[in-house]
């Protein structure tokens, strides 16, 4: 009797834990919820390949968030403008993963712009288009369509809408990189960056704003990073063509001079908030002619990206 009891406990535990273990594996395969073992603990036989992937991941990871440029525009008191947005009709014309990934990034940045300005009504079209493109790229499972749709219809939930949409993009990006689809991930972040700088350049055409101009002038730092990743795929003609367009922008941006003055860093407490203060200074030196050239190359690049 006693043995039967032990057997029953063992069998039940084994059954339940096997279910649990199966569940864990399923999560690892379909989502990025589980934490990765840090790079320092990885024991890979082929370290050179691993380092290559690590370097790529690091670059992709450090590109700015889709909402930062929009936040700057709003902080500078720039009015929202629908005409800057990429259209969402006919997105089914994007019939390659290359175009779908690039434009997913573009629409992601547009959604950030709409969210930042609380344009929740128009956000719905973008949520639907993003869902369609992410499904085509088989990353739609990270895009919480129903929740986003619900939040978009209630403008009081703008913080949640912003958080879920940004974190959905992060999850898609992580999943793509974990599943050896870094090429798609690279296109996604490139699309986000292109739309961000496009919005900024369109704004300075109509507003003489020094802060936004300075942000545009600094974008060579980001583009340099993007080109490192994209050049890994330049044997593919579509990547080669995209790199050619980006190189035109890079040439224009490389004429901008950035002067950095070194300074000490310290930690201080201000009104109960711990602040890391760096006394470093940087100055962007960009002429009007240089800005005009940057705007022109960005417009050409953006047209290249959103054309069917």
């Amino acid at each position: 009797m006693k043995f039967k009891n032990y057997l029953l406990v063992f069998a039940t535990t084994a059954l339940l834990f096997s279910c649990s273990s199966d569940n864990t594996n399923k999560n690892e395969n379909t989502s990025s919820d589980t934490f990765e073992v840090p790079d320092s603990l990885l024991q890979d036989d082929d370290m050179s390949l691993q380092l290559d992937k690590e370097a790529m991941d690091e670059i992709i990871q450090n590109i700015s968030s889709p909402v930062e440029m929009s936040a700057l525009l709003k902080d500078e008191g720039i009015e929202f403008n629908y005409k800057f947005l990429s259209p969402t009709d006919n997105i089914d014309e994007f019939n390659t993963n290359f175009k779908q990934a690039l434009n997913l990034g573009v629409l992601g940045a547009d959604m950030g712009y709409l969210n930042m300005y609380n344009k929740t009504g128009a956000v719905l079209n973008y949520i639907t288009a993003i869902k369609e493109l992410s499904d085509e790229l088989k990353v739609g499972q990270f895009f919480n369509f129903e929740t986003l749709k619900r939040l978009a219809t209630n403008s009081e939930n703008i913080d949640s809408l912003m958080y879920i949409s940004v974190s959905s993009f992060d999850k898609m990006d992580s999943y793509l990189r974990e599943n050896n689809r870094s090429d798609i991930s690279a296109l996604l972040v490139t699309g986000v960056w292109i739309e961000g700088i496009f919005l900024a350049t369109q704004v300075v055409k109509e507003n003489d704003n020094a802060t936004i101009k300075e942000r545009i002038g600094e974008q060579g730092i980001v583009l340099e990073q993007l080109l490192i990743i994209l050049n890994h795929y330049k044997k593919d003609k579509r990547f080669f063509d995209l790199i050619t367009e980006l190189e035109k922008v890079n040439t224009a941006l490389s004429k901008v001079e950035i002067v950095v003055e070194e300074g000490e860093a310290e930690m201080v407490e201000v009104d109960g908030v711990l602040m890391a203060v760096s006394n470093q200074k940087s100055t962007v030196k960009m002429t009007d002619e240089q800005l005009v050239e940057i705007i022109k190359t960005i417009e050409e690049l953006r047209n290249f990206v959103i054309k069917y």
Partner: protein, 148 residues
């Protein structure tokens, strides 16, 4: 019969307890940490770290991240620990080799849940997450943008 019921119940309960504990060190930790952001901050990125305990003779385990930060932006770094691990996370911000900010002061042994950084120069910065005394731990750092 009661005995059989208890025999079945114990492993079932232990499974639920273990799942609840596990749930702390995954996306729920990100959700909890993000919920701590104040109204004036916009979520930008999450930085997850799950590190084993430091073994003598080995390098101190550290999770490293690169972030592109923009000049003039006011950023906030929050750090949250998973409850099931003893390790207290330390988040440090570097510009190349220069330490700019930290969530922990070793002299006072004081941990801070967050610190702010007004970025003076657009560039790629390094964020390191480790655990005090090299203990095993799980944590998430949240980068947010403080609205002006």
């Amino acid at each position: 019969m009661k005995k059989h019921f208890l025999i079945l119940l114990i492993p079932i309960l232990s499974l639920f307890v273990s799942n609840e504990v596990k749930a702390q060190c995954n996306s729920s930790l990100v959700t909890v940490c993000s919920a701590k952001l104040s109204d004036d901050a916009t979520y930008l990125k999450e930085l997850r770290a799950r590190l084993q305990a430091h073994e003598s003779g080995q390098q101190m385990p550290v999770a490293r991240f690169s972030l592109l930060l923009n000049k003039g932006n006011h950023y906030r770094f929050n750090i949250c620990n998973a409850e099931e691990f003893e390790g207290q996370a330390i988040l440090q911000l570097y510009d190349k080799d220069k330490l700019l900010g930290t969530s922990y002061f070793s002299k006072t042994k004081k941990h801070y849940p967050s610190f702010d950084f007004i970025c003076p120069k657009t560039g790629v910065y390094k964020v390191l997450i480790s655990f005090e005394d090299g203990k095993e731990g799980c944590a998430v750092g949240i980068l947010s943008l403080v609205n002006k």
